[in-house]
């Protein structure tokens, strides 16, 4: 055993390390990756060996398709750090199809997808980015002349598991925002009942994607999810409950305007419309871009991007509550409520004045005795 404490804890069989090393991966990097992933999955350190065995052998086939997407999740994948995208592509998975990075194009690309689907039927992991439009017979998104709707159904049905990256694939996302002009659907809606795990976020946090892939490799099954199909290890808590500014919230210290002294001192962004209290995501703990930052840390409230329908329910983004349906942008729930209360008071006040002048409507007139 090595004297390096990390190596001792991680207890990865020598034989696996040798094999990995032969593929040009540094042994220390590999151990670091396995340990961090084990931690990300909230597993005990004794599981490191199992994680290592799973990732060392697998190079599981992965097909990454994009439908109504902005490629933001693909880009997020390129920013992955533990492991990096290069390590993932070259060492850990076998990326059979991914429009943003693949060398092939056109029919050759489509053929690669088809080959992978057939060769690894029931074995590949499908990653879907973007929502699937159902309007106009699927013509709102076609690839190689085939509609996304048709392509998605086929790929999901033949996959071992499907990982929806980003809010569009998970819940419909921006194309499904009101009035949903293209009839955009989430993958869950396109293929109900299929083994799907949702990794919403706009874009997905690459660390959560890696952790999910490794979870599947290690245990041969999808991670436990909440009622919306989101893995509990990443979406099990509200941002608010893990937020670094929570103490300011409880104390009652709020930034009232961007750039004011409270804002500069890192006070709570609640009054600026932060949606941390209604959003389940692990942003505060893992952050983005190698743990550099995350929205609240850099002074902008959370917009709730991992919640279903967030474009409609979390907007206006700089207000606490959604727009009251049927009222203008300026009419907040409180303005309407105060108006309602005031109107009630005025109406009953007038009613009272009128009632005071009303004659002969009081009861028991006959029993009234006037005192001197």
């Amino acid at each position: 055993m090595s004297s390096d404490p990390i190596l001792n804890l991680a207890a990865i069989p020598e034989e696996i390390l040798t094999r990995v090393e032969a593929r040009g991966i540094s042994r220390r990097d590999f151990i670091k990756f396995c340990t961090m992933t084990t931690a990300a999955l909230a597993l005990p350190v004794t599981m490191v060996g199992k994680v290592a065995a799973a990732v060392a052998d697998a190079r599981v086939p992965v097909i990454w398709v994009e439908y109504q997407s902005c490629s933001g999740d693909s880009e997020a994948f390129l920013r992955a750090n533990q492991p990096t995208a290069a390590e993932l592509i070259l060492d850990l998975i076998s990326l059979e199809y991914a429009e943003v990075v693949m060398a092939a194009a056109g029919h050759q690309a489509e053929a690669a997808k088809k080959q992978a689907m057939e060769k690894y039927q029931g074995k590949y992991i499908l990653v879907v980015e973007g929502s699937v439009p159902s309007g106009a017979d699927g013509a709102y998104c076609t690839i190689g002349g085939e509609s996304a709707l048709e392509g998605c159904r086929k790929l999901v049905k033949n996959a071992a598991a499907t990982i929806c990256v980003g809010t569009c694939a998970s819940f419909g996302g921006i194309p499904a925002a009101a009035p949903n002009p293209t009839g955009a659907l989430s993958v869950m809606e396109v293929v109900p009942g299929a083994p799907i795990v949702n990794l919403p976020g706009c874009p997905v946090n690459a660390e959560n994607l890696t952790a999910t892939i490794v979870h599947v490799l290690t245990f041969g099954k999808l991670p436990a999810t909440d009622g919306l199909g989101r893995p509990k290890f990443a979406y099990g808590k509200r941002i608010h409950d893990n937020c670094e500014r929570r103490s300011h919230f409880d104390a009652g210290q709020y930034a009232q305007s961007f750039g004011d002294p409270g804002h500069r001192q890192g006070h709570c962004l609640y009054q600026l419309g932060c949606k941390g209290p209604e959003t389940f995501h692990n942003c505060p703990t893992i952050r983005y871009n190698e743990g550099t930052s995350w929205p609240i840390m850099s002074g902008h409230g959370c917009i709730g991007c991992s919640e279903p329908g967030f474009w409609d329910t979390m907007s206006p983004f700089y207000r606490r509550l959604p727009k009251v349906p049927g009222f203008g942008i300026e009419d907040t729930a409180d303005k309407i409520g105060i108006g309602l209360a005031a109107a009630t008071a005025v109406a009953f006040g007038l009613h009272g004045v009128a009632s005071c002048f009303r004659k002969h409507d009081a009861m028991e007139e006959d029993k009234v005795v006037k005192e001197d």
Partner: protein, 570 residues
Amino acid sequence: MAQRIAVDPITRIEGHLRIEARLDGGKIAEAWSSSTAFRGIETILKGRDPRDAHHFTQRFCGVCTTVHSMASIRAVEDALKIQIPDNARLIRNLIMGIQNVQDHVIHFYHLHALDWVDIVSALKADPAKTAQIAQSISDWPNSSPEYFQQVRDRIAAFAGTGRLGPFQNAYWGHPAYKLPPEVNLIGVAHYLEALEWQKDVIRIHAILGSKNPHPQTFLVGGMAIPVDPDSQNALNADKIALIRKLLRKARAFVEQVYIPDLLAVAPAYLDWAGIGGGTGNYLSYGDFPMDNSPGTGSLFFPRGIIMGKDLANVQPMDEKKISEYVTHSWYSYSKGDNAGLHPYDGETSHKYTGPRPPYEFLDTDGKYSWVKSPRYLDQPMEVGPLARVLVAYGKGVPEVKAAVDFVLGKLGAPASALFSTLGRTAARGVDCLVLAQKNEQWLDQLANNMGRGIYETFNKEKWDPSTWPREAQGFGYHEAPRGALGHWIRIEHGQIANYQAVVPSTWNAGPRDPKGQPGPYEAALVGTPIADPQKPLEILRTIHSFDPCLACAVHVLDGTGTEIVKVRAL
């Protein structure tokens, strides 16, 4: 023999793009560009809070993330006449600057390089010879024979598994690949290095704006990142130092890797300086304000247009002269589909009339794309780094002039070589180099402001909608990595009444207009030689040189449209 071929989808771009083309005598005679995905975000924006618009528009694109936020907040600020603080201008310049630098490098290595660099050939390279070449073109430290040996072994081990993943089914071994194995190996090594580099330098976006892609820091009226040297929750000296380190890392890579590689690869492909020219009209909105004065006079990259490749005559640009056509796009206009509408009056009512999927070919006589056709004074215009650099060159911006002359000098090519596929790729390098060198200046100014106690990053004067006029309209411009980006907004009663975005790829990828004038992609493809219709690598070269940003597919058709040769994987 006339032939019809099809490539679908075009990969290594953002989005879904389809190109159909007719081949004659080994060359493209006609081409059609079609976007095959539609999301309707402009429709979704109607009735929403204009201050929220940038969150929505940013999701137009995750590759050129930030750019649609920038154009959107500028459109609202233009409509409401909001002056942003100087710090906000500098932070925006920094975000835009590093975005352009990072995006251009990703484009060159990860999206475009595989059109010129043959990975399979790199396996035959001699590491010692490779190291010799690498050391002769640059003093980048990663250039030892051992280093290249290691890269070659890693690729060989990967290829040895027989599972090539994203590198399978490509056009490896195509006769149009002209580089010696050693230069290919340098390309592969730097492909991997750039993959590491890009995720590191873009952390500047995370520092200034929480994350990348899709930073969350833009505001109508400024930026959300607070500036305060006395706070640990704001931009302070510590974070400035980290940004500086990353900016220097970015600059070093551009100066010592990207530009030398560009200059090493280009000589093998000088014939591409005569291919892929296209419309010859160029438009740049200009960007990177150097001070907070109103108007566009202070833009580092100036605003202007060039017609008919006339570099000596850069004309002023007036956004009022822009109109969009839908004659060949899957939309309808209330005034008839041959009308041209200015974006303020733009309509996005979609009407799909194309073939029902699955289909083989589009009807290119009718409507065939989800992209509209923008025109300037009814002329198709090319936008992008080339347009930006040409306008700046024509106007004599010293930094740009020096960089262009340096590159042209190294290649021994005249300025007219810029009007080509190779020119487009070289101009992107120039753009990247100039900005990589410029970025630190903006950081210095920001630090200087902080030193003088200027912390303001946000102008809250017009934040509350009750301060807004009943009706307002504004134009937001930006020079995105892929070119001139414009957003037009009309605000009524505090809500978005109309929103139109004319994005760089709309200018470039748009279909034909009512006069039948092809869009820039379509024009640029004409005359491109196709060595092997089964493997139309040449199409990818020209299309990728524009750095497309949409989801499409490419088809090539024969003269009569009868004989169909489908392009298949071998």
